[in-house]
Symmetry: C2
Amino acid sequence: MKHPDVTRQTRTDAGLAAVLRVAVGRLARRLRAQRPDASLSLGQGAVLFALARLGKMTPGALAEHEKVQPPSMTRIIAALEERGLVHRMKHPDDKRQQLVELTDEGHRLVRTDRRRREAWLTQRLTELTPEEKATLRKAAEILERLSQS
Amino acid sequence: MKHPDVTRQTRTDAGLAAVLRVAVGRLARRLRAQRPDASLSLGQGAVLFALARLGKMTPGALAEHEKVQPPSMTRIIAALEERGLVHRMKHPDDKRQQLVELTDEGHRLVRTDRRRREAWLTQRLTELTPEEKATLRKAAEILERLSQS
DNA sequence: GCGATATCGTTAGCAAAAGTAATGAGTCAT
DNA sequence: ATGACTCATTACTTTTGCTAACGATATCGC
């Protein structure tokens, strides 16, 4: 066993937290580095993904959803809009706000890019046993929830 | 159910990869933002943690372990050394190399800080059911492996 | 042995991405 | 209708990582 410590250390909540924190940080770096082309930053990809999943949203809602400050979201949206992947529309009820929405090209990119962008991770996943994948499937939902709480 | 899509999307490896990628990225940001004081960056903490777990290592080994380029590790180590948490020693067999080791203060910080630094995540974990924690415990080991493959 | 080549850590310079503070437009409650 | 608040943006700074180049040491081929 390569890391006997892992199982030992995850006995307690704090130990599990420690291991999770490090693993998540490292995996995030790894995924960033693994990005095949620089076409889309990690954050940009996440926003497209969120819009595809949740439909049109305001910049503020996107910022909160992605756990980023509003100015960062402004930048991400600007970059996506410049590439025609997203477009802004006035919020019908509140002129301060806007609604951000995927363009057709944005939808297309999400679909085609999803496979390409996740190629590395997908490949790693195919190397896992079905049980491990089942674990990750359940864990994904939990991590999802943790990241938003 | 807040995100019915999650379970649907994770049916395929690619879908699971997509969800994992986004969740991991967001959780990493979240953890970074949650850092209680700015005392230790995420990377610095990870290095201390690795040294505590694996003993003395060379900078190169640390860099590879943390999936970071050597110059980045140089900087992290320099910051840690400046604070007296770590110290370098010559490698006995190879004068090119060094060995990095926790100082007593480093060990102390790892111990006391571990709890404080993971407080947020630990708190979130206590809110989970035992089954969910068991899932995360198994998942942590898998993520650990993924991040290093 | 010794010269070419490779490896290790570092330095220097740079780029990406996110954060904070300040600003302008719009809304809302009194 | 005005004062306080909210949303998005702009300007600036910080963080964090990268690549390229370099100096010191080790190793390999001869």
